[in-house]
């Protein structure tokens, strides 16, 4: 199966694809609810959060560096969790960026930002912000649509 020739042009260059994002996330959400109904809320929320990021990254496509880095990180963590048990690595305490460029904080936030020049970092940040806001809007709409009656 090959994507129709017009597919690629349809992929928005500057922004996530909302339908795909919604579909992926909803699918993941239902999966999480279905398969982990007995786990704690915290664990489920963790999985949902990961699913949110994953769907974000997938819908953004491999063209963006941040989506690739995000998926890499997710897969890596998943593999580590499987192979090394539930052991969690201690987080390295973050030092304030008194030395170094002011963009260091941004590099830490945006996935894949450490290996980028400043110019590319800004562009990735813009795309990342777009996708993040879309994801937040989607999740918010889901929560809202469920209504206050949600358990």
């Amino acid at each position: 199966w090959r994507a129709p020739p017009g597919t690629r042009t349809l992929t928005p260059r500057f922004g996530p694809s909302k339908p795909m994002l919604a579909f992926r996330f909803l699918r993941a959400l239902t999966l999480v609810h279905r398969t982990a109904a007995n786990s704690s809320n915290a664990a489920r929320s963790r999985r949902i959060q990961r699913a949110a990021f994953a769907s974000m990254a997938y819908s953004a496509g491999p063209r963006r560096a941040w989506s690739r880095a995000l998926l890499c990180r997710l897969h890596f963590h998943r593999a580590r969790r499987r192979c090394a048990g539930r052991r969690r690595a201690a987080g390295v305490p973050r030092r304030p960026s008194t030395t170094g460029s002011p963009a260091d904080g941004l590099r830490r936030l945006v996935p894949g930002g450490t290996g980028m020049d400043y110019c590319g970092l800004l562009e990735e940040t813009a795309d990342y912000i777009r996708c993040l806001s879309e994801q937040v809007k989607l999740m918010q709409s889901i929560v809202d649509s469920v209504g206050p009656g949600g358990r």
Binding site: M20, R27, L29, T30, Q49, C119, T125, L132, V136, R151
Partner: protein, 491 residues
């Protein structure tokens, strides 16, 4: 011609001006040694005295240039050894060439700035090394303004209180008194600013040499090095410094006085761009000086040919014109464009100006978005049973909005709809409609979810199928596709 100038400003020269040598070319260098009393005074004196003593015996025309060259060489070595640390704070410090000309240029600057060439006929053999151009004075004046500019840049970088010195330099130049010039140069010749006058001198020299055909390279090693350094420096320098020297060179034919002020203004305007350009011009100056020296007397009043980079003057006014500066400017414009985009994305950033604050604002916004995702995911985790969407319908609706729906997508949907809609409730439609409305018009055809029907309850399988999905989507980036396919196989 320059020599007379130097001699006139020699009032404060040290006792090194002794004997017949005092009237000769080396004398200016003695003055230069005075410029850097702190660091290199002793060294300079020793070198200069040695140099002075050697040619003192035969101050003929031909030896003048030799003497000059030797002096420059010695001084350059001294400067190098003295480690003008301030040079390091500039982007591409070319050690040897700028330092070589530093003392000479400084002196030239002194002489040229204030004195409008009282005796241009000094262009006999002894004085030819100093750019027999009558416009040399003007160039020296220009370089003085560069000194101002570079001082400003230095002050910003090294934190030295050079601002005060800066103001003095142009004023001193306009004063047309060697003493005043000396003072100005002296002040700027302090520790950190030592490199600046050198650079300024380099620039001056470059302008002077601009008139000389570039082919005439001096025999001095430094000149050759300067040539290389010039190209390198020019590549590394950015900003508008180049423009100033270029425009200065244009005015070489004019009187020094009236050119000083516009140059000073230009230099002051270019101050903010840092002192990188100084080095570049200095390199040129060095090369040009060497060339001029080699050529012999050129007592003509022809306007000096523009420096090498004058050709690329298509850049904006007051901006550097070499390829690297242009690239830098393009890069800066790209960055500013992206910052504007970000400003539009981040709400409430219209009033904030400045890169640092914008960056902070952006970081805060990204952090807040990530926190929102976490919070919403927590909320969604607790809303488990109420979630019910008929994804099939959703997909169909999205598909209908596309211009090229794929019939293949219906098949996997049959398998997935059962898996997804595990609770039939009327609320599903509001959810669907809300989501559909929120999604907007579907822009992308949905791919067949091959592995979806048999997807296990593991979230990893979700990712796996997504990998397949992505691969099928045929995203353009091979890198991403490879990664995705590899991950798929690794699963």
């Amino acid at each position: 011609m320059e020599k007379e100038r130097f001699l006139s400003v020699d009032c404060k020269s040290r006792d090194m001006n002794s004997g017949a040598v005092a009237d000769q070319l080396p004398r200016p260098f003695l003055d230069l040694s005075w410029e850097q009393p702190v660091h290199h005074g002793a060294q300079f004196e020793s070198a200069i005295s040695s140099l002075v003593s050697s040619p003192s015996s035969n101050p003929s025309a031909g030896n003048g240039s030799v003497v000059v060259r030797e002096l420059i060489g010695r001084l350059g070595s001294i400067c190098d050894s003295g480690e003008i640390s301030q040079a390091s704070c500039y982007r591409t410090p070319l050690d040897s060439p700028p330092k070589l000309t530093l003392p000479v240029l400084g002196h030239l600057q002194q002489g040229g700035g204030g004195l409008p060439m009282p005796g241009n006929e000094m262009a006999d053999g002894q004085f030819t090394p100093f750019a027999a151009n009558p416009g040399f004075t003007e160039r020296a004046a220009r370089s003085s303004c560069f000194g101002t500019w570079s001082y400003g840049g230095l002050g910003d970088q090294s934190g030295l209180p050079e601002a005060g010195n800066l103001s003095r330099v142009p004023r001193s130049h306009s004063l047309k008194s060697a003493g005043a010039l000396r003072m100005g140069v002296l002040d700027s010749g302090k520790d950190a600013s030592k490199s600046n006058p050198e650079r300024i001198e380099m620039e001056m020299r470059s302008k002077l040499g601009g008139g000389m055909p570039p082919s005439s390279t001096s025999g001095r090693t430094m000149a050759g090095g300067a040539a290389n350094n010039v190209s390198r420096r020019k590549a590394a320098s950015k900003g508008r410094g180049k423009e100033a020297p270029l425009s200065c060179s244009n005015h070489l034919g004019l009187q020094a006085a009236e050119d000083e002020h516009p140059d000073v203004k230009r230099c002051k305007s270019a101050k903010n761009n840092g002192a990188d350009k100084d080095s570049v011009v200095k390199q040129e100056t060095e090369q040009n000086i060497g060339a001029s020296q080699k050529k012999g007397k050129e007592n003509n009043a022809k306007p000096p040919e523009p420096p090498k980079d004058y050709i690329h003057v298509r850049a904006r006014r007051g901006q550097a014109t070499d390829s690297h500066s242009l690239a830098e400017r393009v890069r800066r414009e790209k960055i500013s464009k992206r910052m504007k985009l970000l400003q539009d994305l981040v709400p409430g950033c219209n009033k904030i100006t400045g890169k640092a604050m914008m960056l902070d604002e952006i970081i805060n916004y990204v952090q807040s978005l990530q926190r929102q995702v976490e919070f919403l995911s927590m909320k969604l985790a607790t809303m488990n049973p109420q979630l019910d969407f008929d994804l099939e319908t959703l997909l169909q609706e999205s598909m209908h909005q596309e211009h090229e729906p794929l019939p293949q997508q219906l098949y996997p949907l049959e398998g997935t709809s059962a898996a997804f809609s595990y609770a039939q409730r009327p609320q599903g439609s509001p959810l669907q409609s809300a989501i559909t409305n929120g999604l907007g018009v579907g822009q992308q055809p949905l791919c067949p979810f091959d592995g979806l029907a048999d997807a296990t309850s593991q979230l990893g399988n979700f990712w796996e199928s997504d990998l397949q999905y992505v691969v099928h989507m045929g995203f353009g980036q091979s890198q991403g596709a490879e990664f995705f396919s590899q991950s798929l196989h690794a699963e």
